[in-house]
């Protein structure tokens, strides 16, 4: 396969796995947790590096997943100690991120180079870092890991599809049915951390946040069906990745930045033109809107 194709494949894998996880993230009103986790995994990666002195994928993955869980746990705990949810997210992630940056600056030497790499990713280097896989032959490591993560996301979301649905839309009902809501919350957050960290190396933290939240939010405007929303969200993820890549080539700039930017373009178009909840559609049928307002 060619260089471009590998990049597009990697970005598309990020788009789909983030798109799927993102749907549940915004339905559970936890979009800002994605932002928080994408910042704190930096700390996990730095600590894993300082402990093992290797930049091997598996240690980084473990470190990052552990910090993801730590973030979720701390936010939950402060929230139970009467700190408002948003303030507790803000306190936890900025602190852990700051510690990560300090560790890089004081222990590993060059802060700007490494942190910038973590924040923005360098997708153009991915095809250069290859490994041999039995059937396919040579494939980039990052792509392989992302494929694995995508399968994991599909597996976890698919196996407990009904449970995710109930806990997302009606947590109180779920609890009364005996579904372990809090456990599922932690499982889901772990899944988000795994996705984040796998995508991290490829596209950087900011791009992960964009891919998690924006395609799902766009899909939310097009449909009321959860299954269709999942499909649309993954499609928008891939679309933004491809669009972003060619846009970046055209203006010769950061690939991950421009992918994040294209998710915004897709959302803008959905926001205006979506037939169901778009601005134009709402303008054009004022009578229906009024009737709905009267009802509520």
């Amino acid at each position: 396969m060619t260089y471009t194709l590998w990049i597009l494949l990697t970005a598309a894998l990020v788009g789909v796995s983030c798109g799927l996880a993102g749907v549940f993230l915004i339905l559970r009103k936890m979009a800002m947790m994605a932002d928080a986790i994408s910042h704190t995994v930096l700390l996990g990666i730095v600590v894993a590096y300082l402990l093992t002195h290797t930049l091997s994928g598996i240690y980084m993955l473990i470190g990052a997943v552990l910090t993801g869980i730590l973030t979720t746990f701390l936010v939950q705990w402060f929230h139970s100690r009467n700190v408002p949810q948003d303030a507790s997210i803000g306190v936890v992630f900025t602190t852990l991120f700051a510690i990560g940056v300090i560790l890089i600056a004081t222990k590993t030497g060059n802060v700007h180079l490494d942190v910038q790499h973590a924040l923005m990713g360098e997708i153009s280097f991915i095809p250069l870092n290859v490994m041999i896989i039995p059937v396919i032959g040579e494939a980039p490591i990052a792509t392989f890991i992302l494929l694995f993560v995508l399968l994991l996301v599909i597996l976890v979301l698919g196996l407990f599809y009904k449970e995710w649905k109930i806990t997302s839309f009606d947590p109180a009902l779920a609890a009364s049915l005996g579904i372990p809501v809090l456990l599922l919350h932690y499982v889901f957050m772990t899944l988000v951390s795994v996705t984040t960290v796998a995508a991290f190396d490829a596209v950087g933290a900011i791009m992960v946040v964009a891919m998690l939240i924006v395609p799902a939010a766009s899909a939310y405007l097009w449909t009321d069906r959860l299954s269709l929303m999942l499909v649309l969200s993954s499609f928008f993820g891939i679309l933004s990745a491809v669009m972003g890549y060619y846009f970046a080539l055209w203006i010769d700039s950061s690939i991950s930045g421009s992918m994040a930017f294209s998710t915004g373009i897709v959302f803008l178009l959905s926001f205006i033109f979506s037939p169901k909840h778009g601005m134009l559609a709402n303008r054009l049928r004022p009578s229906v809107v009024k009737k709905e307002e009267v009802k509520t």
Partner: protein, 306 residues
């Protein structure tokens, strides 16, 4: 440590302290409006504005850059408001979207500026993590003056802010311009963010606004005291963080300010006089003994008596 005695350092120290105080005050307003994360979204949204301002004027003039940052952050706030009010997307999702998309756009522009090979560009990178030491005297003066202005405005309308936050209905009855105050609040928030970006960085500026009020909340139930404590905590961590970061060469300022702030938060969490963990544990224990003495003990037959 000769660097601590240099007059330039002392100016920077004073300015980050004022910045910390200003963000402590503003943070209290944001805390009670339940909008702590708004500051995070807005500080990310400021990045494209900074880079565009630089591209237009081709120089790193602090004033021009903060005007650009402010406009871009206000535009972000406007978009969040529009998305929230005219679609079914919730506020936190809208904030996350604006944050990521604007920051992505900012990175695209920043990379373009860096590739164009302009000699001045290196300094722009420091906006992401903050480098207080890179500020020249003119920037420091401007930043301090603006921070003082913010403190002054919050201080002046203290009673009105209190009503605005806690009893908007009553405030409406008193003919306070709620809409105007909301715009003023948002502008002050944006102003605090943009003047702090060079010292603390785009990513960590929000921590200066979020953490001090949360810490202050553990010590008091009075809004006025909370404001002052938050300002003291903010100013203190600004000063201490700047001092520590100046000890190593090339150490970024923002992270050190934030960790100092976090240490204050942990101390407050455990030892805070009103809601701290220790005081709550002691009160719980006292209550338990009291109940035991009053209700249980009289009815428990004791060995050796009668």
């Amino acid at each position: 440590m000769p660097i601590l005695l240099s007059s330039n350092f002392q100016w920077v120290l004073l300015s980050t302290m004022l910045l910390g105080m200003a963000s402590g005050f503003i943070g209290c307003l944001a805390y009670w409006k339940r909008q702590s994360l708004m500051s995070d979204a807005l500080s990310h949204a400021a990045l494209p504005g900074i880079v565009i301002a630089f591209m237009i004027f081709q120089e790193k003039n602090f004033f021009v850059l903060i005007v650009g940052a402010g406009l871009s952050a206000l535009f972000g706030a406007f978009l969040i408001q529009t998305i929230k009010s005219s679609s079914r997307i919730t506020e936190d999702t809208a904030m996350g979207m604006i944050l990521a998309v604007f920051f992505g756009g900012g990175i695209v522009l920043l990379t373009m500026v860096n590739r164009s090979g302009n000699g001045n560009q290196a300094g722009l990178d420091s906006f992401i993590f903050g480098q207080a030491a890179s500020m020249v005297e003119k920037d420091v003066t401007l930043m301090s003056l603006l921070a003082l202005l913010i403190i002054f405005i919050v201080f002046l309308g203290f009673k009105e802010w209190k009503l605005f936050l806690f009893d908007p209905e009553f405030a409406k009855g008193l003919n306070l311009p709620l809409k105007g105050m909301n715009i003023l609040y948002l502008s002050l928030l944006v102003l605090t963010i943009v003047i702090g970006i060079q010292a603390a960085g785009v990513i960590l500026m929000s921590a200066l606004i979020i953490i001090p009020p949360v810490s202050a909340r553990y010590w008091t139930h009075s809004f006025k005291r909370m404001m002052w404590l938050s300002a003291i905590f903010g100013g203190g961590s600004g000063a201490i963080g700047t001092t520590i970061s100046s000890l190593g060469s090339g150490w970024p300022t923002g992270p050190f300010i934030v960790t100092t702030s976090a240490v204050i938060f942990l101390i407050s969490l455990f030892f805070g006089l009103k809601k701290g963990l220790v005081i709550e544990y002691l009160m719980l224990r006292n209550k338990k003994t009291e109940i035991n003495q009053k209700l249980v003990e009289p009815f428990v037959a004791k060995e050796g008596k009668q």
